[in-house]
């Protein structure tokens, strides 16, 4: 996990899909990820951070 978080050039991987991911406000840096949104908000708060649940490109989505 730390390698992925450390390398801010890295895109989402299988480690992120299905989980909550905290991003920098410009969405250029992955701050961390977790299956628990509250675990991330406890760590980063809710200001100056963007949260997302990235879609798995290996799956198809109906919406």
């Amino acid at each position: 996990m730390k390698d992925i978080v450390k390398n801010n050039k890295m895109r989402f991987t299988n480690d992120h899909y299905g989980k909550w991911v905290a991003l920098s406000p410009d969405r250029k840096v992955i701050l961390d990820y977790s299956s628990s949104l509250s675990a991330l908000t406890r760590k980063f708060g809710t200001k100056e951070v963007v949260y997302t649940k990235p879609q798995d490109p290996a799956l198809n989505y109906a919406f």
């Binding site: 991911v21 509250s38 990235p54």
Partner: protein
């Protein structure tokens, strides 16, 4: 007229977030003095804005006092959902606005901005050939 263009995510490689060729943008959800900013997908097929129920917790919303309802997805299976109203904020697109949101536990994304009342608040012009979509505030 308040009008903002957004790139389709796939064609904006500097942005993380959505992997696919989809109309995504940032929206700040607010309720009771709490707020959280999420990557949101614009979804014209969604009757009411749907959000992952984890977001309710972050906004201090108790699902037990929301209106219980059901939602049905592409699989045809109905799922429990809870309806309430929150505030939406989109930078550059006018005043914050209130609207319904339906929280559901298994939504695989953060939030889907649906017909009620995202599409009531904005005219949405999808231009996939240009890799962009445009929101125009209709009540400004």
């Amino acid at each position: 007229m308040l009008k903002v263009e957004f790139p389709y995510c796939k064609f904006n490689p500097d942005f993380l977030g959505c992997n696919c060729d989809e109309p995504c943008l940032l929206v700040t959800l607010k309720e009771g003095g709490k707020e959280i900013t999420v990557e949101a997908m614009v979804d014209s097929g969604c009757t009411v804005t749907h959000a992952n129920s984890a977001l309710a917790g972050e906004l201090g919303i108790d699902l037990r006092i929301c209106i219980p309802t059901k939602t049905i997805g592409i699989s045809g299976e109905m799922e429990e959902a809870w309806m309430t109203e929150i505030t939406f904020s989109l930078p550059g697109l006018g005043d914050d606005f209130r609207g319904p949101v339906l929280f559901t536990k298994n939504l695989p994304v953060s939030i889907l901005l649906g017909q009620k009342n995202f599409f009531d608040t904005f005219d949405v012009h999808f231009q996939k050939s240009k890799h962009l979509f445009t929101l125009t505030r209709v009540d400004a």
